[in-house]
């Protein structure tokens, strides 16, 4: 009886894990399969297979512009949040100065707020200053979301290094700048690179702020996909989504290489 119950739970656990894995994979797999079709409308399963729409998507002006603009914005946001984040992280992880905890709280706060609210707040300000919303409000909004992540990852790396190594470097005659460049930076590099790649991906994937701030010709790929998807499904959106999945997969491999995806997300050390 008890072995029967045990094996029942054992099987139930496995079935659950498999079913939940399939559920998590489902939308991604469905998009990838549905995108490889020559059909004129989105059907699942597709009636024919081919790469016709992957050619069409690059001929479509709004998607082509969207890809380029998304990459530009994400690149700028990643570099800027990397610089801003690493400076703040070094100071905040080491320094003991008045207001330190308050500064950390203020810097982390934007990720707790809905993108809808951040977006309209930024739109009203750039409207007041008579600036175009894209790319100014867009980049500002993305920096708000990405700086906290870079800060958190880099701070964790800074806390993890032994300050005696830097002291040794200084006592052997290296300047503060040399110590920072040749001792500190290499030690925090994995956390910083993971933070920058993550910032790139957050900006590249973000859709709400991107949609609210979009202007003709200055619309990111996710915002362009949203615009088309409000009219229903179409093979063009499917392939554009497929491209975003491929892109995310490439960056995921980069994170895995530099830092370990599961270590980054779930503190997995095994």
């Amino acid at each position: 009886m008890s072995t029967m119950r045990l094996s029942f739970w054992h099987t139930a656990r496995r079935v659950f894990a498999v079913v939940l894995s399939l559920f998590m994979l489902l939308p991604v797999v469905v998009i990838l399969i549905a995108s490889l079709t020559n059909d004129n409308a989105v059907k699942f399963p597709p009636e024919s297979f081919g790469v016709r729409w992957y050619v069409e998507v690059f001929k479509n002006e709004s998607f082509r512009e969207g890809i380029v603009f998304s990459l530009e914005v994400a690149f700028f946001v990643a570099v800027a949040s990397g610089i801003i984040g690493v400076l703040a992280a070094l100071a905040l992880a080491r320094g003991r100065f008045p207001g330190r905890d308050a500064i950390v709280t203020i810097l982390m706060m934007p990720i707790a707020l809905p993108h809808v609210v951040l977006a309209i707040a930024l739109l009203q300000i750039v409207g007041f200053l008579a600036l175009p919303s894209s790319p100014y409000a867009l980049v500002a909004g993305h920096l708000l979301v990405t700086v906290p992540y870079v800060l958190r990852l880099t701070m964790a790396s800074v806390v993890g290094i032994d300050a005696n190594i830097e002291r040794a470097s200084r006592s052997l005659g290296a300047s503060a700048l040399q110590t920072g460049r040749y001792v500190t930076l290499p030690m925090i590099a994995p956390g910083l690179v993971a933070g920058i790649v993550f910032a790139f991906l957050l900006s590249f994937d973000e859709s709400t702020i991107a949609l609210f701030t979009s202007l003709p010709g200055l619309t990111t790929l996710p915002a362009a996909i949203f615009g088309y998807a409000t009219q229903g499904s179409s093979p063009l959106i499917t392939t554009a989504s497929g491209l975003m999945i491929v892109f995310a997969a490439v960056l995921m491999i980069a994170v895995e290489y530099f830092f370990g995806v599961l270590r980054l997300m779930a503190n997995e050390t095994r």
Binding site: V28, I120, A140, S207
Partner: protein
């Protein structure tokens, strides 16, 4: 930085230099500028704006934006639907997330890491893409109709159920990560002790695992609930114009109708209700931990 200070004190005293002496503070300046100009000031301006009514060049300070929202049953109905969707998404995510986190905690299978990877990797893919995947699945010529036999064309698009399914899929990784973070802190010997003292599985779950995972469960519920309350693209794309949620109204008032003052007030109503419920949740969590 301490390392710089230590070696500086050994050398000949140098003249005062504000930048050098306050280096840590100076290094946070770029981040603080971002927080001030892109966050604090815009949010304050949004809040102030929500108390104004603009008529041409005439600006009037009033509470009428808020009283108009509270006095109109239309907004109550949409807030009700938003709450219902967010609560359902949170509950379903919690149940699935708990089972997944327990599996991750106890499994010694070589597939464990694969399972964890499949659970968290969707976070790398844009919400808009995952939502679009659900549109293909739930739509009239999608996977659902292929799997379910019969000629009747069913579609979960433009239904609350469809929105909830997509939100559960999108926010489940956060719940799993949050519960997982709590569970890995639990001492495995507690379970061995309880087992050797003869406790049944149910009692171990109730008296050992549940209390240990409570902080993660509350944190996960807070994340999933607040994100579901304020989610924009998923409810709009799946629910369409017939199943509007609060986030869509904020968008509509601000961007489609250009009614910025009223739209600001709507945003703060949504934010206020969300924060109120999140505060209650975290109080419950703190109290449960204190009485343990």
């Amino acid at each position: 930085m301490s390392s710089i200070g230590a070696s500086d004190s050994m050398s000949v005293p140098r003249p005062r230099n504000f930048l050098r002496d306050n280096l840590p503070l100076v290094m946070t300046v770029p981040a603080l500028l971002v927080a001030a100009f892109f966050f604090t000031i815009p949010m304050a301006a949004l809040f102030v704006n929500s108390f104004s009514v603009v008529n041409g060049l005439d600006v009037k300070w009033t509470l009428s934006n808020y009283t108009d929202i509270i006095g109109d049953s239309y907004y109550w109905e949409i807030m009700g639907r938003t709450l219902w969707i967010a609560v359902m998404a949170t509950v379903v995510t919690m149940v699935l997330g708990f089972c997944a986190a327990l599996y991750l905690y106890f499994s010694e299978s070589k597939w464990r890491r694969v399972f964890l990877f499949l659970l968290v990797s969707p976070l790398f893919i844009s919400v808009i893409v995952r939502t679009y995947g659900w549109i293909i699945i739930l739509g009239p010529s999608g996977l659902l109709n292929w799997v379910i036999p019969g000629d009747a064309r069913i579609s979960l698009l433009k239904t609350d159920t469809g929105i909830i399914i997509a939100l559960v899929h999108i926010y489940l990784p956060y719940m799993v990560l949050s519960l997982n973070a709590s569970l890995i802190k639990m001492d495995r010997r507690l379970i061995h002790a309880a087992t050797s003292l003869g406790a049944r599985s149910w009692r171990i779950f109730k008296d050992v695992i549940l209390p240990a995972s409570l902080p993660g469960a509350i944190a996960g519920a807070i994340i999933v609930f607040s994100m579901s309350m304020t989610a924009f693209s998923t409810p709009v794309l799946i629910g369409g114009a017939v199943r509007k949620t609060m986030a869509y109204l904020v968008y509509q008032q601000n961007l489609l109708l250009g009614n910025w003052q009223f739209g600001s007030a709507l945003a703060f109503v949504l934010l206020g209700v969300t924060v109120a419920i999140v505060t209650v949740l975290s109080r419950i969590g703190k109290r449960a931990e204190a009485t343990r």
